[in-house]
Symmetry: C2
Subunit: 200 residues, 2 copies
């Protein structure tokens, strides 16, 4: 069995949402599973002296235009959220909690939460929204909400952010195939080319 | 005849070099010509409060790795320059000068200068190097060196940078098809998809 793809993402990242709708197909094509690893971009932006994309002059305008355009080109539903970016710590902790049960379920949850925020105009800071999504993928939403209050889960997310930064993650989505990292939704073709050139 | 692709680039941009080796094929596929529009990233970085890519923590390490990896994946010769980034005002002015004679010749010159810097370890700040490249594409290198000293050409580059920023250019390469702008070597597939969805 080949190593899973490590899919690092922030729940407030439009390009992570777009990638989340395509990563399963890419993984299947490469004969791999997906590790769904939510992180928080805040600490990374701090290390880089950077800011949220849409707050950067020139680049922000491009990004706002490109989010919806990229979605359209790939036939993905997209409605730019009224509040953006937002704090995504609850959704991230919830995904780490669900991984304790099942990575596949955690992935289904993550995909649906990204879709809720970027296509269904739901507020994913609202833990009731998160619990409903958890229930819809066969998890126990109430148990999850209790879980994300624990120090163990809080620490797990903190540790995940540190590990990600040690591996060189600075943006979202950031995908590792074996130990080779690729930044961005637009790098799927490069991942395919890299896999073809580096058979496991 | 469809509108040319406007190919904005900085001569010190590795991704512009990579794109310069593929843009003619993309343009031919789309039934278009290429306008070779060199600009300077400096004023754009200033507007964004940004810095050269390789100077940014985390992102810089990724970029250095990705330049050579992307070249390898696409089968493009690449030797990361010993001095990088460098001032590229002479090469940029030279390209604008050559456009006064022929856009095709200016494009051939630009491609060879990018290759000289990113694959042949030549110092493209050296105007003798630029004159030699100009001669090799059938232009008059000495006339070009005289031309880039004129206020008309200096102003033309300044104006080009202003126009680019007004059009939303903030990075390199930046490619317009009709008036739709795409940032990055990794956006060629998006340009193809956009062209297919928006027939002229």
């Amino acid at each position: 069995m080949q190593k899973p793809l490590d899919f690092y993402f922030d729940f407030s990242s439009p390009y992570a949402y777009l990638a989340s709708t395509q990563i399963d197909a890419l993984a299947a094509e490469l004969g791999r599973q997906v590790n769904w690893y939510p992180i928080l971009l805040g600490p990374m932006f701090k290390a880089m002296g950077s800011a949220p994309l849409v707050d950067i002059p020139l680049k922000g305008d491009y990004a706002r235009h490109d989010f919806a355009r990229s979605a359209r080109l790939f036939g993905i539903d997209y409605v730019h959220p009224a509040e953006f970016p937002i704090a995504t710590v609850a959704a991230a902790r919830a995904t780490w909690y669900l991984q304790g049960q099942s990575m596949v379920q955690a992935g289904d949850f993550a995909k649906k939460v990204l879709e809720a925020y970027f296509a269904r105009q739901l507020d994913i800071r609202d833990t009731d929204v998160l619990a409903t999504v958890a229930d819809s993928v066969g998890a126990d939403g109430q148990a999850m909400l209790a879980g994300i209050q624990t120090d163990a889960i809080k620490d797990q997310l903190k540790q995940a952010v540190s590990t990600a930064m040690e591996r060189g993650v600075f943006g979202s989505p950031f995908i590792f195939i074996d130990n080779e990292g690729f930044w961005g939704f637009d790098r799927f073709p490069h991942i395919r080319m890299w896999a073809a050139a580096n058979p496991a």
